[in-house]
């Protein structure tokens, strides 16, 4: 029988305590145990970035992170991006308005990564955006609409919509 462990962590502002096998990835934990299926797995070997979540304020590949490693941690997933009033974050809004979503399978990872970028760098250049997002694969969009969306979100956050 696979070894099990009890973990307690905060996900999207809510605390959960669950028992998991130690080999369970954070991605599977979020999806199968908490039914937060907005986080996607596109490779399960750390390359595509679709599974990216925020763990203790930093983006993390939830396919390569074990659930037990997130014990005591604070996780934000795509389901937790709306603000307290239930409004989309500027990045979600900009992705919608700039047609940055096609099949949408990559979208959760891009949203989390883009929000992290803008938190550290409110006015990134196109080069900086491309560089920061280069660990996330989108097979549909050719990235152009995503980059435009990040630029628009940055502008909106700086109050110059």
């Amino acid at each position: 029988m696979a070894r099990e462990q009890s973990i307690t962590l905060t996900v999207n502002g809510r605390e959960y305590t669950r028992t998991v096998t130690v080999r369970t990835s954070l991605a599977d934990f979020l999806r199968d145990h908490l039914h937060l299926t907005g986080t996607h797995t596109g490779c399960e070997h750390g390359v595509c970035g679709a599974c990216t979540v925020s763990l203790n304020g930093r983006s993390a590949r939830s396919c390569l992170t074990l659930a037990v490693q997130a014990d005591g941690g604070d996780v934000v997933t795509i389901e937790g991006l709306r603000d307290d009033e239930g409004e989309w974050s500027p990045v979600q809004k900009a992705f919608f308005e700039n047609f940055a979503v096609q099949c949408g399978f990559c979208t959760p990872g891009f949203l989390i990564t883009a929000i992290e970028l803008l938190r550290g760098n409110p006015d990134p250049s196109e080069e900086e955006i491309r560089e920061y997002l280069s660990g996330n694969i989108c097979r549909c969009s050719g990235y152009q609409a995503i980059i435009k969306a990040v630029q628009a979100a940055a502008a909106a956050a700086r109050g110059q919509e």
Binding site: A2, T21, R23, R31, L36, T37, G38, T39, H40, T41, G42, C43, E44, H45, V47, C48, A50, T77, I78, E79, L81, R82, W88, Q92, F95, F96, E97, F99, V101, Q102, C103, G104, F105, C106, T107, P108, L111, E126, I129, R130, E131, L133, S134, G135, N136, I137, C138, R139, C140, S141, G142, Y143, Q144, A145, I146, I147
Partner: protein, 788 residues
């Protein structure tokens, strides 16, 4: 009749924001892997480690005994109980391939499914796979088509002489005479590696069986739900009306999810056997070997021209490595036949000959992937045109101008028997050149950054979209998916539902159809919803592939809307006591032209259903209309791409420094969506031209099975794309054309020509793609050796 007959043109032509995207931004969309049922079992597959081997024994005893394992299924268990996949007959078939759902006597590629394990959870199923012991007797593999067609090559299928799954020789016009009398003949080789569509979401299914309603319900990440339904019923021996197929939210398709594969059919069989829902979700490592590959072509082509560079004849010799089986439904003819037949592209070719073959090898089967066959057809000819222009001492643009089919020559029947009409090849080229500032680019070509070789590539392409019943999707195939239907239903609350079996993998088909319906009917877009993915609700349709969906969906909406509008106005005329001619519909309200009398669709629909007593029956036929649309022929889309690259002669690295595209995709429904399709296609073309290649060793072992080995472009490799429209409306209803595939054709040609142009400055050249750093260096090195 021209299609330009919209009632109140508002929505079509506008970048309407797609409501379909909202759940994707909230993490609430339901993809296949997000579907779960109580008591659902999980399936994993044991796959062949060998490229070519006899199966001497499969010992499943330890797996069966593993706790949590419900069932272990082998090929022998299924043998005789289900109908295997026999390759579709094709006029140009070589032998036939027969693919068991689970291998019985022989495995023919690494990754072929041998056993299925059903367990209580996925991890247990995967653990049990490791406990199965297979006794293989290895056979000599075939790993390339030139060896595979030799008389003494091992035979992969008993009936396939020289391993030909397909072979066709075509000739039209006097090719030999043209070559004999030509001013110049130029010959070139072109090779393109094996590709993968690499949908970010792999394949998968949930199959559920119960004697209540539909016996078999399948949720499947797939582009063609009705086609799957037909074949599920046929292969499982079920009544088709007992099968429902739903394509949930799908994470990319690109053709890879348009074929029929064994795994989903095994799951359907297991669900029926076990009377429990079963789920299988492909992981990436499986996807790299078990979902169809694409391309892998080896082409020799030769052009005969007169002194001005006018094409007199084109001949080619094509080998396609089509893998171990003829891909079910589409056949192994996809790549070989389309590459040969569509090579002339947008150019006047008076005489054409090709000999094309699909040779079986011990690799994953090759199936459809965005723009099947055409990228290599186009790029090989574009490179040959550049070389010809170089030999004639004229600019590459000039030779294209002299050979493109011009507007005033249309309709034009080319030597491949295709008729070009309502398409602007020359306008696209002119737009791309002027937007790029081509003359200045050429003039400044020598001023590349220090140490870099600058190359400029110009590629023109034709892309046949929205094929009707008169134009088969591939020559010689039985499949003629030339029609599709929509049902329009005015609900009793006055809202409109559009139902069609045209699933979207991000193309926003529902938004497009809503836009068209809004304009045709005068119903507000907010009052229109659209279901595109469920055979339980939609009328028959072939589904989404071959740049057809917007054309068919919109055409069928236009037809059905005409009848719906007639019924609405007839009833409203009675209720309002006004002549029909005096009425119109806007913003979901029927009103007299002077707006003196009004009747909301809501009131009318409610009245007609709930209190119909006073309405004459002939005016109350119900507000549900189904219409099939068949555009008969296809519509050519077109484009011209201008690409500027800098090549580093020390490292072989290629950087795209400028990318300008001009496209003719007909009348636009939603410009921002169209641009997303075109730019996304170019990005895949960047991968195709520079990065992506599935590599096998001589034993038939795949060497690229992770995303760390198979390199798809990231935001750093895809340049900013300057996209311009040079649209000519098509002859289809609405003037629409397909836009999903063309741009990947232009991208391969444009980038390939730019790289070759850069190398030519040092006397180099390149024939093998993707243009990896090694190949670029070799392209320079060989030339240096020759020069020495």
């Amino acid at each position: 009749m021209s299609g330009l007959r919209f009632v109140n043109e508002k929505a079509v032509g506008t970048s309407v924001l797609p409501d379909e995207a909202r759940p994707l931004l909230d993490g609430e969309a339901r993809f296949l892997n997000d579907i779960a049922f109580p008591g659902m079992y999980h399936v994993a597959f044991l796959r062949s480690q060998h490229a070519h081997a006899l199966l001497r024994g499969v010992d499943t005893s330890r797996a069966k005994a593993h706790p949590g394992v419900i069932k272990v299924l082998t090929g022998r268990d299924l043998h005789g109980k289900v109908e295997p996949f026999r390759s579709m007959p094709n006029r140009f078939s070589g032998g036939q391939s027969v693919q068991d759902w689970l291998a019985v006597e022989k495995v023919r590629f690494v990754g072929e499914a041998i056993c299925a394990v059903v367990a209580e959870d996925r991890a247990t199923a995967e653990d049990a796979i490791e406990l199965i012991e297979v006794d293989y007797e290895p056979l000599t593999p075939v790993t390339n088509p030139r060896d595979g067609e030799k008389d003494d090559a091992p035979r992969i299928h008993d009936t396939c002489v020289n391993n030909y799954l397909i072979k066709r020789e075509y000739e039209r016009g006097d090719v030999d005479a043209a070559f004999a009398s030509a001013h110049l003949t130029v010959r070139r080789g072109f090779r393109i590696g094996r590709k993968q569509a690499l949908c970010l979401e792999g394949r998968g299914c949930v199959a559920a069986f119960r004697r209540d309603g539909f016996e078999l319900s399948m949720w499947m990440s797939h582009q063609l739900p009705y086609v799957v339904r037909h074949y599920l019923a046929r292969h499982l021996g079920m009544a088709e009306n007992q099968v429902r197929v739903v394509a949930p939210q799908t994470g990319g398709g690109f053709g890879q999810k348009a074929s029929i594969y064994p795994e989903e059919f095994v799951c359907a069989w297991l669900a029926r056997l076990l009377r429990r829902p079963v789920k299988w979700v492909e992981d990436r490592l499986e996807n790299m070997v078990a979902s169809t590959h694409a391309r892998e072509q080896d082409i020799e082509l030769e052009l005969a021209v007169d002194a001005q560079g006018h094409i007199l004849a084109l001949r080619s010799n094509i080998w396609v490595d089509v893998g171990a089986y003829s891909t079910y439904l589409w056949s192994a003819g996809m790549e070989p036949l389309q590459t040969g037949g569509l090579m002339p592209g947008p150019y006047k070719v008076p005489a054409l000959r090709y000999l094309t073959r699909g040779v079986a090898t011990n690799k994953t089967p090759v199936g459809p992937y965005r723009a099947v066959g055409r990228p290599s057809a186009s790029a090989s000819l574009e490179l040959l045109l550049d070389e010809t222009a170089h030999r004639l001492g004229i600019d590459p643009v000039e030779i294209r101008r002299r050979n493109l089919i011009d507007q005033d020559e249309m309709p034009y029947r080319n030597a491949n028997n295709l008729v070009h009409d309502n398409v602007g090849y020359v306008p696209c080229l002119q737009m791309a050149l002027s937007k790029a500032g081509y003359d200045q680019l050429r003039a400044a070509q020598g001023q590349a950054p220090a140490g870099k070789l600058r190359g400029i590539g110009v590629a023109c392409f034709a892309e046949l979209t929205g094929l009707g019943t008169s134009t088969p999707v591939g020559p010689g195939t039985l499949l003629q998916p030339g029609r599709d239907a929509v049902t329009l239903r005015l609900e009793t609350t006055g809202t409109l539902t559009i139902a069609a079996a045209l699933p979207s993998q991000g193309q926003r088909i529902a938004t497009a159809m809503r836009q068209v319906a809004a304009d045709e009917l005068g119903i507000s877009m907010d009052d229109i919803s659209c279901l595109t993915n469920d055979t339980g609700m939609a009328p028959y349709g072939f589904g989404t592939f071959a740049s057809r969906t917007a054309v068919f969906g919109s055409g069928a909406v236009i037809q059905a809307a005409a009848e719906m509008r007639r019924r609405i106005l007839a009833l409203a005329a009675f209720l309002l006591d006004e002549p029909v001619e005096n009425l119109t519909i806007s913003s979901s309200v029927v009103h007299t032209l002077d707006r003196g009398k009004t009747l909301s669709l809501r009131d009318m629909a409610e009245h007609s259903f709930f209190s119909a007593k006073d309405i004459p029956q002939d005016l109350n036929q119900g507000f549900e209309v189904t219409s099939f649309y068949d555009p008969k022929h296809g519509s050519f889309a077109a484009g011209a791409h201008v690409v500027v690259v800098d090549v580093d002669p020390d490292t072989g690295a290629v950087e795209i420094v400028r990318y300008v595209a001009a496209e003719d995709v007909g009348r636009l429904i939603n410009p921002a969506v169209v641009e997303g399709q075109i730019i996304g296609g170019i990005a895949q073309g960047v991968g195709e031209a520079l990065l992506e290649e599935l590599v096998y060793d001589e034993q038939g072992q795949p060497r690229t099975v992770t995303l760390a080995d198979y390199l798809v472009p990231s935001a750093l490799e895809v340049p900013n794309i300057e996209l311009h429209h040079a649209n000519t409306p098509s002859g289809a209803l609405g003037g629409f054309k397909g836009c999903g595939e063309g741009s990947i054709i232009g991208a391969l040609g444009g980038i390939a020509c730019a790289v070759a142009d850069a190398l030519r400055q040092r006397g180099g050249d390149i024939h093998d793609f993707p243009a990896s750093p090694e190949r670029v260096l070799r392209g320079l090195g060989v030339a240096l050796d020759d020069a020495g």
